[in-house]
Amino acid sequence: MLIEAENLNHTYALGTPLAQVALRDVNLQIGPGERVGILGASGSGKTTLVQHLAGLLQPTEGRVLLDGIVAHRRTPAALAQRRRIGIAFQNPEDQIFEQTVFREVAFGPRNLGLSQAEVATRVAWALELVGLNPTLMGGRIPFALSGGEMRRVALAGILAMRPHVLILDEPTAGLDPRGRQELLRRVKRWHQEMGLTLIVVSHNLDELARLVERVVLLKAGRVVADGPARRVLSDAALLRSAGLDVPHSVALLHALRAAGWPVRTDQLLPEEAAAEILRVRRAMEEIR
């Protein structure tokens, strides 16, 4: 699916003294199969933007097109497009309401009017995707599961709709280190195997560096950078001006550079940064 934001503006509580501009003149195109990170400080408009990309909000000005169809309209064509987009809000487990894991994951597919057999197939498939055994877990009460398991159930409910685009808003917040690593691995696999477009909102730069290839940086509702993750996430001055930190690896490389080491600063992952430090160290020793 091709997602296009054209001159998108959003103001909350427009026309009241509490009016707050959340998005200003956002222009953006996201093609099929891309992995895009949406980055910005708190209040920069990230969540508002992804809600627009999913067609959930009506723009104050401008529009969002999903394969050429205006996203937020109440037309069957727009609804069909919106159904191809799965969006997981922050802490999606807060929205679980069914009595069993099976019923929770089946809720969406049932609303599509699928046959019982087809619903059951989809639920089993989606639970497998999030690493939960359908036979063992299907009958469990969601609220008796651990936080990490509940999050996976919530994500299974979204995947069961077979989305073409998956939007994740802070997907790993509140998970422990192992839960975070496992979820990141799974999300990558879904992208590869299902050919999903992936849009991830996060302020964890180390995670974004592992997950996405392109980063859109927001500041006070405006897009201030849009480019390869390696370029945006290694631009310390840009990130700091947007009220953000830099990835740990980049911070280390910049500090070494300031101390006179001729290191490249665009190595985002710890293993990449380590390789770069070792390379430069060897070169420095040879010169000596």
């Binding site: 651990s146 936080g147 422990d176 280390l252």
Partner: protein, 276 residues
């Protein structure tokens, strides 16, 4: 003097709706001294939050005992005294704010304790100073950023003059600059105000800032030591579902590549100094 917090054989079981129970704490013995800065880490469901909720008598032991400042939480008449000594700041600031302005919110605790108005005023002013929110005193807390709301929540706790503040994943919903501001405030309260700090966190880099790290697993404390001692046990931590702080991860990568480094660099600055 007795330790500030002490537990003996602390066991806690959550009753299940259907039948049976989940044992969340299994005989925890731990001692925390006045003025310590302790990080509590462990996988989701390891019992961290359940443990600290015993430190201000929000939960009471199924078996075993908890003393705070020498007061046993098992005695109902002492529970309010315990809660006066130990305050809590939670993950989601929106769930902790109650009033229409920042200063009313901060005054909530002292008012509930029936203090005279002049004293409430003084405590609110002091708390606003300590968290740097004096300019926001008349703002509605709902209009503040997540990090500012968390600071209002801290001020609300400070106004009750606790000896100890427990922070339960206070930074997990904050962006990096607010997170840093939060950690700076926590450190300042510990160093300058002598407040005992217990910080629950999923960030190993945050845990590395404490004086002491406790690691929980399946309802037990399985490791207890300084950050450099705890984070020297890479395999053990990995088996517990945890990871290493970034500087230690990096030092390991570099060592594997043949570079010698002290393994105790807990901060980026320490690592840069060791390299240069």
């Amino acid at each position: 003097m007795a330790p500030f917090i002490q537990t003996k054989g602390l066991t806690y079981a959550y009753p299940l709706e259907s039948s049976g129970q989940i044992v969340a704490l299994q005989g925890v013995d731990v001692t925390i001294e006045r003025g310590e800065y302790v990080a509590l880490i462990g996988a989701n469901g390891s019992g961290k939050s359940t443990l600290v909720r015993h430190f201000n008598a929000l939960l009471l032991p199924t078996a075993g005992q908890v003393w705070v400042d020498g007061l046993s939480t098992s005695q109902p008449e002492l529970r309010w005294k315990v809660r006066q000594r130990v305050g809590m700041v939670f993950q989601n600031p929106d769930n902790q704010l109650v009033a229409n302005t920042v200063e009313e919110d901060i005054a909530f605790g002292p008012e509930n304790r029936g203090l005279p108005p002049a004293q409430i005023r003084a405590r609110v002013d002091e708390a606003l100073q300590l968290v740097g929110l004096v300019d926001y005193r008349t703002h509605p807390p709902q209009m503040l950023s997540g990090g500012q709301k968390q600071h209002v929540a801290i001020a609300g706790v400070l106004a009750t003059r606790p000896s100890c503040i427990i922070f339960d994943e206070p930074t997990s919903m904050l962006d990096p600059p607010s997170r840093q501001a939060m950690l700076d405030t926590i450190r300042r309260l510990n160093v300058e105000e002598g407040i005992t700090v217990i910080l629950i966190t999923q960030s190993m880099d945050e845990a590395a800032l404490a004086h002491r790290v406790l690691v929980m697993h399946h309802g037990r404390i399985v490791m207890d030591g300084s950050p450099s001692a705890i984070f020297a046990h890479h395999e053990r931590l990995q088996a517990l579902g945890l990871e290493l702080p970034f500087p230690i991860q990096m030092a390991r990568h570099l060592k594997r590549g043949g570079m010698s480094l002290p393994s105790t660099c807990l901060t980026l600055e320490a690592l840069v100094n060791a390299l240069c």
